[in-house]
């Protein structure tokens, strides 16, 4: 921790530049450290509004009624009236290795269709499900990389497995909300965060055409730098 020195001039002394400059030069050399600060010394005015240092909150919202429908058994980005469900971060959004991204998504499903929910065999359990995930795209130098922040699945029917029972393939579960969230540890210093997108798929159904239907949906992401 630096020290600020003052030269005490007495009556009759001629001040010299060294003495006059000393306190200001010392002050310029002092840095803000743990030893010379205390909790709550800062006010919001001290924080950088451009968000380089503190938490940042980002949001994507589609609140319309246009339906995204998919029968794909591989993850597809949710498209809302022609626009992908995606947070695209400003160029240069950077995070370090000790940082975390907390991301979540919520929305509502519409008229989902389940033609096949499996035959009760354990190998066909996943026929009965559709699922969502949040995919982050980032760059640590070189090409862009992706990783899954969070993933969740829901059942088409009121059963977790089974059934070949057509009474179970009802629409009682239409217009349900979904909501999930997760944490992702940033792998390296100076990781460039490119985007986070919401993706959806249906379980493997032997081509029987189970269909997912999503209307309103949103993504929130907190870049946690504390």
């Amino acid at each position: 921790m630096g020290q600020i020195n003052f030269t005490k001039f007495r009556e009759g002394d001629t001040p010299d530049a060294t003495g006059l400059n000393a306190p200001y030069d010392d002050l310029a050399a002092v840095s803000i450290e743990k030893e010379n600060t205390k909790p709550n010394w800062a006010t919001r005015a001290h924080f950088d509004d451009t968000g380089e240092k503190a938490n940042e909150l980002f949001f994507y919202d589609y609140d319309g009624v246009s339906a995204f429908q998919t029968t794909n058994t591989n993850y597809q980005v949710v498209i809302n009236a022609g626009t992908p469900s995606r947070i695209t971060f400003p160029a240069g959004t950077s995070m370090d290795g000790a940082h975390i991204i907390r991301a979540g998504a919520s929305g509502i499903i519409g008229d989902i269709i389940c033609n096949t929910d499996g035959n009760g065999d354990g190998t066909q359990d996943s026929y009965n499900y559709f699922s969502f995930r949040l995919l982050v795209t980032y760059n640590v130098g070189g090409g862009n990389l992706t990783d899954v922040i969070a993933e969740c699945g829901y059942s088409y029917t009121r059963r977790s497995r089974l059934t070949n029972d057509s009474t179970g393939l009802d629409s009682a579960l239409w217009w349900r909300n979904f909501s999930f969230s997760g944490l992702w540890a940033v792998p390296n210093n100076n990781t460039q965060i490119i985007s986070i997108q919401l993706e959806a798929k249906v379980g493997p159904n032997g081509g029987a055409g189970n269909q997912l239907d999503v209307t309103r949906n949103n993504i929130n992401a907190v870049l946690v730098r504390n």
Partner: protein
């Protein structure tokens, strides 16, 4: 940024009062915390400069950069929040008959010191009964009770509730067969026992805001049991 001395003293030069004053003024401002992010970026963690403050009466937790407020009610009969369509004067179920009712235990009034982004998280277990009096008409069958977040901005001269479409969720009547506008058309207890949930972000201005979950009911009785409502404020 580091302190920058405005004037450098040089031997045998006459010292102007403005130069002396500029140095003193700059030093005074600096030591009174004219400090920016670059000063502490590599030397401090935020947790060392904003310990936060817990307000036990309202259960809010405040930080320099944010605050967190919310309500949490576990599954307890005496804490149920009920809603009913019977208070609608003319038609309990018409699409044009919209009367939102506040959901008890799912709201928070917040006061922002400056403009902020607010993340609202809501989850509740809903149960709806049947509407015994009304059949036919718009949405006939499984009457939908629409659950949304309502925002009232008290910083305006005429605060008007705004119902946020991007938060909508539904719990349905438990019986009926004919198609409605939104119609999970099977009977039983799947459509009328629902988890309704959302996360939503609002950009709000400095001042007082009311955030409240509201229901437009179309059944004679329905309620929530366990529910959580959380508001997180991000000033930065």
């Amino acid at each position: 940024m580091a302190f920058v001395k405005p004037y450098n003293y040089i031997n045998n030069q006459v010292l102007e009062d403005t130069n002396q004053r500029s140095n003193e003024e700059a030093a005074k401002v600096y030591v009174n915390q004219e400090i920016v992010a670059a000063d502490y970026g590599t030397n401090l963690d935020y947790t060392e400069i904003e310990a936060g403050e817990f307000l036990p009466v309202t259960n809010d937790h405040k930080f320099a950069s944010s605050f967190i407020a919310g309500q949490n009610i576990s599954n307890d009969n005496i804490d149920r929040a009920y809603f009913t369509s019977t208070t609608k004067a003319n038609n309990q179920t018409s699409a044009s008959s919209v009367v939102y009712r506040d959901l008890y235990g799912c709201g928070k009034k917040i006061k922002l010191d400056r403009s902020a982004q607010v993340l609202v998280t809501f989850q509740a277990a809903f149960i709806a009964g049947d509407n015994s009096n009304t059949t036919g008409g718009d949405g006939s069958g499984m009457w939908e009770n629409r659950v949304v977040l309502r925002h009232t901005d008290y910083t305006t001269s005429n605060p008007t509730p705004v119902y946020i479409a991007g938060t909508r969720g539904y719990v349905f009547e438990g019986a009926g067969a004919s198609l409605g506008l939104l119609n999970p058309n099977a009977g039983g207890t799947a459509a009328n026992r629902r988890q309704v949930q959302h996360q939503y972000v609002l950009s709000l201005s400095r001042g007082e805001h009311d955030l409240q979950i509201a229901v437009n009911p179309k059944v004679e009785y329905g309620w929530t049991s366990a529910r959580n409502f959380l508001v997180e404020v991000f000033y930065l």
